[in-house]
């Protein structure tokens, strides 16, 4: 490579690096804004745009930890994540097994139906479900979200099926030779081999339910089962005793606390997260 071409290549690299940095600043700016807002006073928040607060204060955090039901909302959110996560992992992997590994009448039709229901937006069915869950007295609890998760989510069934199909079929055939039944193959061969798959779907499901706003907005009403996403719109929204002044620093501080788990998840499980998301979108 001659000297001229080399300087051109370096120039190009510098320009691309610059663009990369600008995009990074744009993408990360809301997160910086949220974190910085949590350390401001209400007056500073509503009058200035400083990123580094002039007089940093911990008031918002002290309020959240000492005078609000933050830990209750946190517990509810964790219960929601655990309930839906365990429920969908067990049921969806079971349903995916025959679709990936067995031959039986109606297989293609059932699979088409599962893909079909994947396309139905949940929001379209939420009003009839609201009435339904109201009739059996489940409103204002976590049950309308946890119980359906225990009966297989089409999306997770689809993901499990894709992953199961990538495991060599010779393993099942060997197990059948040894007199193993399908139940045995699932529990003793496929499930243990698929631990990374379970971890991937657990990570995706946790992120989803940690962030979920729509269903809690419809199903939850009172303080008792309120989740963190709802608390941002209710408990942390206004300053005490005045429902006209929005308490931005508290909202930002609570948001900061809600950003930490996904951030940690990215640091420690980015492999699972990234792989799972890629598989979810690559092929039909």
């Amino acid at each position: 490579m001659n000297k001229k071409a080399r300087t051109a290549a370096i120039q190009k690299n510098v320009i691309i690096s610059l663009i990369k940095i600008i995009v990074a600043v744009i993408m990360f700016s809301p997160i910086i804004w949220i974190i910085s807002g949590g350390f401001k006073t209400l007056t500073e928040f509503t009058t200035s745009t400083n990123i580094i607060p002039k007089k940093p204060t911990l008031d918002a955090y002290l309020y959240i930890f000492n005078s609000s039901n933050f830990f209750l909302y946190f517990r509810n959110t964790v219960l929601l994540m655990l309930g839906t996560g365990v429920g969908t992992l067990i049921s969806s992997s079971m349903v995916a097994y025959p679709l990936a590994r067995m031959e039986f009448p109606g297989k293609n039709m059932f699979f088409a139906l599962i893909i079909g229901t994947m396309m139905v937006p949940g929001i379209a069915l939420i009003i009839p479900q609201y009435i339904m869950f109201g009739k059996i007295g489940w409103l204002d609890t976590l049950l309308p979200m946890i119980i359906p998760a225990c009966f297989a989510y089409p999306y997770n069934v689809f993901l499990f099926r894709q992953f199961f199909r990538s495991i060599p079929k010779e393993l099942d055939e060997a197990a059948i030779m040894d007199g193993c039944s399908h139940v045995g193959i699932f529990f003793r061969v496929l499930a243990p081999l698929s631990k990374p798959t379970y971890a991937t779907i657990a990570v995706l499901s946790s992120v989803y339910w940690w962030n979920e706003l729509t269903q809690p907005v419809f199903y939850l009403n009172s303080e008792k089962w309120r989740t963190l996403t709802i608390s941002l719109m209710t408990s942390f929204m206004f300053i005490k005793g005045n429902t006209f002044v929005v308490n931005w620093p508290t909202i930002m501080a609570a948001s900061t606390l809600m950003i930490i788990p996904p951030m940690l998840l990215y640091f420690f499980g980015s492999g699972y997260l990234v792989e799972g998301i890629k598989t979810s979108g690559l092929k039909g």
Binding site: W33, G37, P105, M119, G122, A152, P154, L213, W248
Partner: protein, 304 residues
């Protein structure tokens, strides 16, 4: 004797398969089929939030189709879904391109690009309500700094700027992050030889992009943008409800169907009417779904 044994074996096999699938059968019946049928039957009543209801035939549908609020909402839904898909797909492709140039600190860049998409939409919405705010908003401050004059735009409440602001915010949603990761691996799968051949022929970067990259990743792009439109239909509620409220401010300009359903059923207590709107949203999703099947059939053909 042999036939009978084989028949028994098939029977056991089939029963085992259906046994495994039992959770889905139950879930499908109770949480999909029943709600769909129930939704349709409630849509023929004037059911109120307190449960009092009376059969009124297709009156709800008649009212919907003559309502300007619905027509507006339908337009907004279509506009929002389609533009959001285009904007987020292009931005995701752009970021995937940047990340696929192997340079130092790529891990940190991916972290910065991706993290906004896995934080709660409500936190994002509140951050942007203040970033795009009139008085102490970051965006106005930046514009003032650049232009040297005092910019005071109320981005989310001004009918000239609200779409600009909302579509900018969609760049930070899960859709974008998801597509960015998918496009990254799609771009990696484009055979390197094609680019080398292009280099030998002296093709420009733009020519290589339009003649090699785009055709190679178009199946993935097509599938994901259409798939994403369904999640836009579904996910717009979680972003717009905390951002512009159930009435879709300003002047219903952001009131997508899901917000209208919530507004009618819970604020106006018209559950029957809300169900009729849900039926329509359901049908729109079906049309999108059929579109996806058509598209993916075409993709299979491409691969062969």
């Amino acid at each position: 004797m042999e036939i009978k044994r084989r028949r028994n074996k098939t029977l056991v096999n089939n029963l085992t398969a259906y046994g495994f699938m039992l959770p889905w059968f139950i879930g499908f019946a109770f949480f999909t089929v029943f709600p769909v049928v129930f939704m349709f039957s409630v849509s023929l009543t004037n059911r109120k939030l307190n449960g009092i209801s009376q059969y009124i035939g297709f009156t709800n549908y008649k009212n919907i189709f003559s309502s300007s609020t619905f027509r507006n909402s339908f337009r907004v839904t279509m506009f929002f879904t389609i533009i959001m898909m285009i904007v987020t797909a292009l931005w995701a492709l752009f970021m995937a391109f940047l990340l696929n140039r192997r340079q130092k600190l790529n891990g940190i860049f991916q972290f910065c690009y991706f993290l906004p998409s896995v934080i709660p939409s409500v936190a994002l919405a509140y951050a942007f309500r203040t970033i795009f705010g009139k008085d102490a908003g970051l965006f106005n401050a930046l514009l003032s700094l650049i232009s040297g004059s005092n910019v005071q735009i109320n981005w989310l409440f001004d009918k000239n700027t609200v779409y600009l602001a909302v579509f900018f915010i969609t760049l930070f949603t899960y859709n974008t992050g998801q597509m960015m990761l998918i496009f990254r691996s799609g771009l990696n799968d484009v055979p390197k030889e094609l680019y080398e051949a292009g280099n030998i022929d002296g093709a420009s970067a733009w020519l290589k992009f339009t003649k090699i990259t785009l055709p190679m990743i178009s199946p993935i792009m097509l599938f994901n943008t259409v798939m994403g439109s369904i999640s836009a239909l579904n996910g717009s509620f979680a972003l717009l409800y905390p951002l512009t409220g159930e009435t879709g401010d300003p002047n219903k300009m952001t009131q997508v169907l899901s917000l209208l359903i919530y507004n009618e059923a819970f604020s106006n207590h018209k559950v029957g009417y809300g169900c009729a709107l849900s039926v329509i949203l359901f049908l729109i999703a079906c049309v999108f779904g059929i579109g996806i099947f058509a598209v993916s059939k075409k993709l299979v053909y491409y691969e062969n």
